[in-house]
Symmetry: C2
Subunit: 245 residues, 2 copies
């Protein structure tokens, strides 16, 4: 297996990329790679490049780029707006694997977690993107209150609300009846659920569709992942295949 790393630098023919000490340690100390070993690099803009380690030391490494392996491709425009819950690391990892383009932590009336470690969230998404063969990493937005999120919402983005109570359309049916071209978001509440007043406000918005995920009450992280998986399968890029290795 050729190691696959996300970098910030531009990637182009004949170019070289400097890796920091952490990346160098990962390649050298964890994966036992040396000068001359192949690596794959991507930055979310320039596609995936194969390169060769020119120099590797404790302080950093240098990769000489050889060839473009896969042209850049963006993930579908699918946000996840989710209450800041304890299992936020699991959500970040799995949402990245499931091709989410943007993670937006949300504060609601019943949200138990008030501070979100955005750096850690970003590290989780990068690692999941590296592992899952993604060519981009999800954006991470600054946590905001539900009301602020809705105030700034573009009505062209359809919001799929995971609703464990009240009226809701079964998710498969809802997705079948929705247009594949639109930008989308999945929204999931906190462990304690949305407050009644929050659900009422959401249900009045023309861009919101409340969906049901069956007769069991899912944990917040499970609901988010189930909805993202169904979206990708029915409306997203579920027909595509991973690159052959």
């Amino acid at each position: 297996m050729i190691p696959r790393l996300y970098v910030e630098s531009a990637l182009s023919t004949g170019g070289a990329v400097e890796l920091d000490a952490a990346r160098s340690h990962y390649l050298r100390g964890v994966l036992r790679r040396e000068a001359g070993s192949d690596v794959l690099l991507f930055n979310g803009r320039d596609g995936e490049w194969q390169g060769r380690i020119a120099r590797i030391a404790k302080s950093g490494a240098r990769v000489q780029l050889s060839s473009l392996k896969r042209p850049q491709q963006q993930s579908p425009d699918l946000w996840l707006v989710f209450a800041a819950i304890k299992r936020i690391d699991v959500v970040a990892e799995k949402a990245t694997e499931l091709g989410c383009s943007c993670l937006w932590p949300m504060l609601t009336q019943h949200t138990a977690v008030s501070r979100v470690n955005l750096e850690r969230l970003r590290a989780n998404t990068i690692e999941a993107a590296e592992q899952s063969e993604r060519l981009d990493i999800p954006d991470i937005r600054t946590p905001a209150k539900l009301g602020e999120i809705l105030d700034s919402w573009s009505p062209t983005r359809r919001l799929i609300l995971c609703a464990e109570s009240g009226d809701a359309i079964p998710i498969a049916q809802a997705l079948h009846d929705m247009p594949p071209e639109a930008p989308y978001a999945v929204m999931c509440g906190p462990e304690g659920g949305f407050a009644r007043s929050e659900l009422d406000a959401l249900s009045k918005l023309p861009f919101v569709t409340a969906v049901g995920l069956g007769p069991r009450v899912l944990r917040a992280d499970t609901a988010a992942l189930a909805a993202l998986a169904c979206w990708q399968a029915i409306l997203g890029d579920g027909r595509e295949r991973p690159p052959a290795r």
Copy 2:
């Protein structure tokens, strides 16, 4: 919120149930319940019953049953056959939430984990069933080698194979073309994937359908949960709603 507990005892009108020290501690020490408090009990056979704590102490508690709240309902006949991976606790919890009827740990050529703690697996499924309003808990089968599992397979049970390489039908399309009445299983390989020879053997079996889950390579636990979520949405009980509380 009325506490909801799984018990082994029979449940019927006028009956009483003895809870062991662990259950009693949970009610008394964690949830601060006392004699006179309401609880909900289910055993996977007799539906969900409301009862009242008649006596509670460190050594145990006694619940006097009052009324049947929900008649028994079985989860759809959907197994999960999954390679014994490190994150088996996550798989057990989420597969239970997603309405899986049977968990079968599998040993494959590339399975890194050789021992499975079945008691812990069972404890995870019970807790997830209690939290998710399920009325039954998944069966747990003794871990077995892939070959043994296939030798004992009933060909009427359709096997949905999560395949990250080789030929595969997109999961939404595959599920749409399959009969809703049949018993099913989802099968997921280990972190290192199936061996080529294992995939070849699987692909020759008439009851196997290899499905694709999009262009990203999913972790074993993510693949299992994505496939279960899609199955429930398209072929399972995704149209039902949780009980009103």
